[in-house]
Assembly symmetry: C2
Homo-oligomer: 213 residues x 2
């Protein structure tokens, strides 16, 4: 694990040297938001065959346009209040990643990481409900933020998920995570997702291990 | 859980009545593929501020075009060989979902569900490696297919993940899952992801519960 950690640190440093000022980040976040809307329409549109083909061709041209300016490396991270690292390209929280809902995470003084979010049709597993793997992704990420907020960041070593009831799509959900125990290099984090009625839909225990350097 | 299951069955039936013939599915899958390429460029492009703004505006117009034809409900599922249900809109396997890599899953005669896939920058967690939540999502989905292939489909009740080493981005990965035990309404499935060197990067034990009807 040590070699991997060193490699990651190197990548972090390289990315931090990139020129991503606030204006550029805002512009790309706007583009990512528009691509999210387009993505949802791909699944929902009733447009006919020929119209879909025309749009596909147009999307291809836009991609080429962005590619012509050159392909760089993914954006780095922003360090916000409380030392919380926010990866701009993250598939969970990344404002610049069209795949991310994206969820926003805040950390309270007692170290609890919280988020309120709604997941649309693109995150569907069983019809009308959130994919169990998406719930896992949210809890994994939130737990990582809680471990960092505890001053004991690390790599996920284990994630034990219990699904209590289906998590509904298209309605406000909330999630929270908090480090509950540290044993040597291991940090244990408890987390859960709550439905609009306040009942727990999924919960998890995560174990993070701080790498040796 | 029974009420949720009944609701899902109803949605399944409604979706199956939609007109998604093979030609329409192919056209939408093509569009989804183009949107995936565009999504990756959002994170990688070096285009300047004004170019990014123009592309964002163009994407908005394309979305409006698809929306003008009307918004339907998400596509249903295709039942393939071996009775494997493939949700066209799934965030993991859905050919029509721009968020999905998408991974293709095959089931061998002994009931092992397998997939070979590569995950790009949009699925990144630690720099250069796959997000732990994305690995969780793949294993959850693959395990569900293995439970179905075993003739004992159900809702995920638990997913216990162990991360052995970081899963690399941008290289061929493989994953497999197999039902190992059935106890009453519970089916236990073991799964794992392997890196290009054949070593296990993440593994999981999933428990699926067949709903009472």
């Amino acid at each position: 694990m040590t070699g991997a950690w060193t490699a990651m640190q190197r990548v972090f440093e390289e990315r931090d040297r990139q020129d991503f000022d606030e204006v550029r980040i805002a512009g790309l976040a706007e583009l990512a938001a528009r691509v999210r809307e387009l993505s949802e329409l791909v699944v929902l549109t009733r447009a006919d065959q020929s119209e879909v083909a025309v749009v596909a061709r147009e999307v291809e041209l836009l991609t080429r346009r962005l590619a012509e300016a050159g392909r760089g490396i993914p954006p780095g991270a922003q360090v916000g209040e409380g030392g919380i690292v926010r990866q701009l390209g993250s598939p969970v929280t990344g404002a610049l990643n069209p795949l991310a809902p994206p969820i926003e995470i805040s950390v309270s003084p007692d170290g609890t990481a919280r988020s309120e979010f709604t997941l649309g049709v693109l995150y569907e597993g069983p019809p009308g409900f959130v994919h169990g793997g998406v719930s896992a992704m949210v809890l994994d990420h939130l737990s990582g933020v809680a471990a960092s907020a505890n001053g004991t960041p690390g790599m996920t070593a284990g994630l034990d998920l219990r699904y209590r009831r289906p998590t509904p799509l298209g309605v406000p959900l909330s999630a929270e995570a908090k480090a509950v125990r540290v044993e040597g290099r291991k940090t244990f984090v408890e987390s859960r997702i709550l439905g609009p009625d306040g009942r727990v839909t999924a919960e998890a225990t995560a174990v993070f291990v701080m790498p040796t350097r």
